[in-house]
Symmetry: C2
Subunit: 174 residues, 2 copies
């Protein structure tokens, strides 16, 4: 196993921390740049209702276009992943869950981003809303589980974490 000899921050903004890590392998020592979030990670929620998954379409600033994603958001300080997931669900799609379950951790590109997203499964939904901080209304799309693959094929910009969620659903609900 390689060994991290030294890790230090070279830049910190409101959201991101860029670190430099000196890592020793068998024959050489290399320097890597690593992006860390400044928070506690995020939750991504798979809401299931009547054998359908609730997706959202949301403006994605980095690509200046709309992306297909699922309800998600940063975990606030002193929030558990369950609390964060239930809050985001109420803010983004107007439901709360009476059966929220942690499924697994998702890593974006673990070679250089240490960001962790906690994938949550939300069943037994009932209407309940909270005001979120979204700058515009989100488009909400319910898709029957057997039709998800066809639906994904019609979307160009998809949050990579959606594929992890779909993989879980297709292995467990079809």
């Amino acid at each position: 196993m390689p060994k991290i000899l030294k890790k230090s921050s070279v830049y910190k903004s409101k959201l991101f921390n860029i670190n430099e890590a000196k890592i020793e392998f068998h024959n050489e020592t290399l320097t890597y740049e690593i992006i860390s979030g400044t928070g506690n990670g995020a939750v991504l929620i798979i809401p299931i209702i009547d054998n359908k998954i609730i997706f959202i379409k949301e403006y994605a600033a980095a690509v200046d276009d709309y992306m297909l994603t699922l309800p998600k958001g940063k975990i606030d300080s002193n929030e558990t992943i369950y609390e964060a997931a239930d809050r985001e669900l109420q803010e983004e799609i107007g439901f709360k869950s009476n059966k929220m379950k942690f499924i697994k951790e998702i890593y974006l590109a673990p070679g250089y981003i240490d960001h962790v997203t906690y994938m949550m499964l939300a069943e037994s939904l009932e209407p309940s809303s909270l005001i979120g901080d979204e700058p515009e209304d989100l488009e909400i799309i319910q898709v029957e589980i057997p039709r998800i693959s066809t639906f994904l094929g019609k979307n160009k910009i998809i949050d990579s974490r959606v594929y992890a969620a779909v993989n879980y659903i297709q292995n467990n609900y079809e």
Copy 2:
């Protein structure tokens, strides 16, 4: 559609560029932080041989552990995506492809990272090696297509782009 009023770099390192974008929505103007790569994006290759996919396990610096991924790497300047994919294939798994095809673009977390990975399908493989810049040998794992879901379930740290690749394969090769 929201409108980007202004976008400016606030920090630039060897690999990353952090931008601030002022974005106008119907009722408010917000400032977003966006991470851009400094290069031309990356390729991720799905190598298929005898109805098996060739995965790799590689040290992932940001999480200080081994991750499951596919052959991939940055596109060098003046390389096409096909050339980059064929080079990475030869460096990382010792094959070249006589049938390389571009499938789709993958976005990590398009809300705040503009990084694009070009997903490539590599068929008709034949042995051919190039020396890469990997600091240690990569573990290479061939998995039969019908067994991929079970195989993924046994790995804790998985590059999110692997799920996008697996989704493609399961829809087209099963």
